[in-house]
């Protein structure tokens, strides 16, 4: 019995020893479950974002990390205020200097007392629809970039937030009539705004802005064509990028929205700068210009000085001795 007991003990001991000997290399070999694991920095370097699967319904939350918001922040807080500040203040300063040195472009021949229809009621309606929307959109938009440093310290958090809230609603909802206005402007005036050789001559003579030069022009001169294309292309870009921001995740992700905001804001500040120039030349910058969009009728002498070829066209249509010029028809109605 004793020998059997010894045999059992020996056998068990040998088995235990064997187990230990075979186990030693296994435990000495360090198990590292992270050896093949995904690494944060590696993933970020590969894609600049980390994405995975989530079990909640909101699949967009599967994006774990996207540090490129940092570059967007730099744009929004530093680059954009510089671009906007230079464009808008630069344009304003240029106009003030121009006005003080050169002054208003006068009607050289004075008023003839006879007028000619330049823009019909529909054209003027579309212009002012777009213009009023634009002014509200511009102010509410600039508020997003410049309100926090400039206006907030003056009126305080509550008032500024309240104002910004209404400004945002105005910005979002007026974008629709504005877009309609831009589309109508595009269709209505495309006929007169195709660049031609006359515009090159017009541009060479500086548009007659300085001195007493009056380069010939059809219904729209080179400068007006520029404004037209700024409105059509700029308006198209701000509308497209704006709607991308208004309807998040419809076709774009976060990067898409960052890009949309960059396009929207750069085009918008340049657009505002261009429109400051447009407003100047249409009001105090040129005698007799405002009437075109005011009453719709301009003085014949104004038309002769600034749009000589257009006046000839109109005269040819109405006959040389017709004292009452016929209303101009819209180009693409």
């Amino acid at each position: 019995m004793a020998s059997f007991g010894r045999f059992i003990r020996l056998a068990f001991g040998a088995w235990a020893l064997l187990l230990l000997v075979t186990a030693v290399p296994a435990s000495a070999q360090q198990v590292n479950p992270t050896a093949s694991a995904v690494k944060e920095q590696q993933l970020l370097q590969e894609l600049n974002r980390i994405q995975g699967r989530v079990s909640i319904p909101d699949q967009r939350s599967g994006v774990l990390e996207q540090p490129q918001g940092r570059e967007w922040r730099e744009f929004r807080n530093v680059t954009l205020p510089w671009i906007g500040g230079i464009a808008i203040l630069g344009m304003t300063a240029a106009i003030v200097i121009f006005y003080l040195t050169v002054g208003m472009v006068r009607l050289e021949a004075g008023r003839s007392g006879r007028t000619i229809v330049r823009f019909n009621a529909f054209e003027r309606f579309v212009h002012w629809l777009t213009a009023t929307c634009f002014i509200v959109l511009a102010i509410s938009g600039l508020n997003i970039t410049f309100g926090r440093p400039l206006l907030l310290p003056l009126i305080g958090f509550e008032a500024f937030s309240e104002w910004s809230q209404w400004a945002k609603y105005a910005h979002n909802y007026l974008s629709f009539p504005f877009t309609i206005g831009v589309v109508l402007i595009f269709l209505m005036w495309i006929g007169g705004n195709i660049p031609s050789k006359v515009d090159i001559e017009w541009a060479k003579r500086g548009g007659g802005l300085i001195g007493h030069d009056h380069p010939p022009a059809y219904r729209f001169n080179g400068g007006q064509k520029m404004i037209y294309w700024i409105v059509v292309i700029g308006g198209g870009l701000v509308a497209a990028s704006g709607y991308a921001l208004m309807f998040p995740f419809y076709g774009t992700g976060i990067e898409g929205m960052q890009m949309a905001q960059i396009v929207h804001s750069i085009v918008a500040v340049l657009f505002v700068a261009a429109m400051i120039g447009h407003i100047y030349i249409g009001t105090i910058g040129m005698e007799g210009a405002f009437e075109a969009m005011g009453s719709g009728e301009v003085d014949v002498n104004w038309a002769r000085e600034h749009h000589s070829l257009w006046l000839d066209e109109q005269k040819a249509q109405t006959g040389p001795n017709d004292g009452q010029p016929r209303p101009a028809t819209a180009a693409a109605e």
Binding site: Q30, N32, P33, T34, A35, S36, A37, V38, K39, E40, Q41, L43, I50, Q51, G52, R53, V54, S55, I56, P57, D58, R60, S61, V63, L64, E65, Q66, P67, Q68, G69, R70, W72, R73, R76, N77, N143, I144, T145, G147, R148, L152, F157, E158, F160, S161, S164, Q165, K168, N172, Y173, L245, M246, F247, P248, F249, Y250, I254, M257, Q258, Q261
Partner: protein, 198 residues
């Protein structure tokens, strides 16, 4: 004062979503909004990892920097909070956030979005601590009661750590030392511009 941080030990996270559920329940977070979520990377493949992510309460927070109405503020515990009374729902914080934390109750409603909602580190908002108004807008204020965020408290594997940055970094370092591996503190470099050397 402490510098509060979150740390998710990805080597321990088992994607049980207890943190997500705890958060939703504790704060009665509206339908469609998840202040915290668990993202699984390389799902089903070798090296798969799950990470629980919410607002990381960044140092020099991008959301606060880009907010047009300056509605964000940082508490003495370095928790990044915001005022829903001042928020205009413009979406800028959500473009700037590296972690997808800001969310809006009305996505796609002509861009009106509604007031932004995000993780408060269980620290409520600008209203009086523990008040009814605070609870309705931001959820419970556990920090004011001396408690840590519930997501981390409820974590079944103690993967998600919340608390003073130095203390939780120390805990994580000790873990890494003891077990001999660690895939790092996810998001720390982006949020706090630092990592935990292990």
């Amino acid at each position: 004062m402490a510098r509060m941080k979150f740390l998710c030990d990805a080597d321990r996270c088992i994607e049980c979503n207890a943190c997500v559920t705890a958060c939703k329940n504790e704060h009665e977070v509206p339908w469609g909004i998840n202040r915290r979520r668990v993202v699984t990377i390389n799902d089903g493949k070798p090296g798969e990892r799950s990470i629980s992510m919410a607002c990381m309460h960044c140092t020099d927070a991008p959301c606060a920097a880009v907010c047009p109405v300056n509605c964000f503020y940082t508490t003495a515990d370095a928790v990044v909070l915001h005022s829903k009374d001042l928020c205009i729902g413009c979406g800028y914080c959500f473009y700037a956030c590296p972690f997808g934390a800001p969310q809006y109750p009305k996505v796609g409603n002509f861009g009106s979005r509604g007031k932004m909602d995000k993780c408060t580190y269980c620290a409520g908002g600008p209203e009086a601590d523990g008040s009814k108004e605070e609870y309705e807008k931001y959820g419970a204020n556990r920090l004011a009661e001396g408690k840590l965020p519930l997501c981390a408290e409820m974590c079944s594997t103690k993967s998600l750590l919340a608390g003073d940055g130095e203390i939780i970094a120390q805990i994580y370092k000790e873990r890494v030392m003891k077990r001999g591996y660690g895939s790092g503190a996810w998001g720390w470099k982006t949020a706090y511009r630092e990592t935990i050397e292990s």
